[in-house]
Symmetry: C2
Subunit: 375 residues, 2 copies
Amino acid sequence: MTCCKQTFTFADRDHPLLLDSGQNLWPVTLAYETWGELNSDKTNAILVLHAFSGDSHVASHPEDDFSDNGPGWWEAMVGSGKGIDTDKYFVICSNILGSCCGSTGPGDENPITGKRYGLDFPLVTIADMVRAQRALIDFLGIDVLYGVVGGSVGGMQVLQWCVSYPDMVRSAIPLATTMRHSALCIAFNEVARQSIMIDPKWQQGGYSDEEPPELGLAVARMIGHITYLSDQAMHRKFGRKLQGRDAFSFGFESDFQVESYLNYQGAKFVRRFDANSLLYITKAADYFDLDKEENPEINRLNSSTTKFLVISFTSDWLYPTYQSRELVQALKRNGCDVCFCEIQADCGHDAFLLPDEHLTSMISGFLEGVENSCR
Amino acid sequence: MTCCKQTFTFADRDHPLLLDSGQNLWPVTLAYETWGELNSDKTNAILVLHAFSGDSHVASHPEDDFSDNGPGWWEAMVGSGKGIDTDKYFVICSNILGSCCGSTGPGDENPITGKRYGLDFPLVTIADMVRAQRALIDFLGIDVLYGVVGGSVGGMQVLQWCVSYPDMVRSAIPLATTMRHSALCIAFNEVARQSIMIDPKWQQGGYSDEEPPELGLAVARMIGHITYLSDQAMHRKFGRKLQGRDAFSFGFESDFQVESYLNYQGAKFVRRFDANSLLYITKAADYFDLDKEENPEINRLNSSTTKFLVISFTSDWLYPTYQSRELVQALKRNGCDVCFCEIQADCGHDAFLLPDEHLTSMISGFLEGVENSCR
């Protein structure tokens, strides 16, 4: 059972998905893909969760010819014989609620008005995204997930899975993530949102397919892109090299390679991503907080049997290692079985997506160890 | 001689200021203020240079009633009995070329067309800014400056002064600065510029006083503001505290204090600063490079007698300490007399502007030492 993109739809007017905001959502569609075979006792499923602008295409499929379906966003990690070995595990990757890559989001039709949701789409939380994923896992007939794995906003979903459905998660690998967004992360997200919302084409979220707020979305992506890299990586990759010229322009075109790169990344992003989805998903990430003073949800993991592998990267300044340490401390405080590793990498937050032998062997080794442990 | 804002104008069609770009500029006006008295042999003048959005008002004047002229941007450091003691020194602070606070910039009238320059204003460099300041210092009848002091983009001007006019600078204090902008700094500046240039009111720089690109400029300022703070400072100041509400809005208003703060800072900035000036000054900072491989201008300091005090701050991630160390190494390589201090501060880049006893006593002590050294 190896499948290209499929969709799963649930919830109707009488049985809507109840969201954290108190609002109802129906119908709810999730786009997902699977790799490998679910074993007969359905105990080898690994759910991979994507970061904010990702999709269900974590890796290519054996039958992909790459002509219309490029490599996946974690091609180095997921596949036959790789860190998450699709010869052994049944891998599922689901697109998140609120996104624009096949799952229900603000770009979809509001069944009540018959028009595109826009800002009428209810605000969803990380817990809401995980609620919808739970329905998909139920639909696939899986009672317990062998593993839940994801980085960045995907890592938040990993942690939310453990907190919301502790008995369904045998092992969890949150990478380059946090229990809650810092003020710095909220600040960057807010500036990205503002850059979209000041674009007159945004039209209070009511733009058409033909006239999206491309310029604002491109600037938002440029901001994001800076935060995914690091000072060192940008120095190594670009330094002060000029782009296609020997001398300064003494004008406002791109002089430096780093400027061209960011402008290119911004322009590329608007061809594949929806501006309103960016607003919704960044807000979900900002709201995420498993360690609220008044109600630390992380404490629901008290005496949980889930095995954790927490991974951070030295040059990640979006979710720095100290935030992973806080997570590890919270898990330890609750008696959880936790391994923690900080990986030396100068590529910044994006390091978790890049090929790295150390990371690969750590993940495959940890997953093997789960198999051998009793439950 | 204690003076509120004055102006100095020089250069005309026949004797223009020749810029690094090869273009001519005339007339050139600099707004400046002075504090204290120039001694009879004119040896006690200290030139203070401001950061990118600063102005000539580094401190209040004894006669200021604060009703229309608030405290200065470095009130804690400059004044009677302070780190830069106006009882001892004749302090001059000049607004920079390209700015919008009284000096010639893109918001002024182009004498050739009779219209506002806009993007017809020539691109100026840090060296051009310093050229204009040199004319002011000549006009004031000062042959040698006792000290040149400034942080951030002001620190770049300090270094440029030393390189361009080594015999005119007895001592130099570059704070929280760099010999050249890193790719990371260029990246942030480019995103700030793009956020202005996508605002339809920008009109290719040709906007009117009545309809400036306020929204784009506000977003640019928000981006800048994040880079002036630090993760720790934002955590301490805002954390995840909500603004004027007990619970999430589940909408796109500001939920968190840090969002309100940034939006407030953005809105405040547009009332005092010009969008085109931001474009010009950020570009000047990006172009700045005293250590170019093909021509390291810093080597002009070989056997210079200027005494240097280089200061960095631990949590400054815009111009991190390693960049000050590179500067110190370049100065040492050239046999310069250099003191270096990294100050423990968790406030980020803005730390140089904040009251700090350690910083104050270091600067006053260093300046006293210069007096006692022979030349």
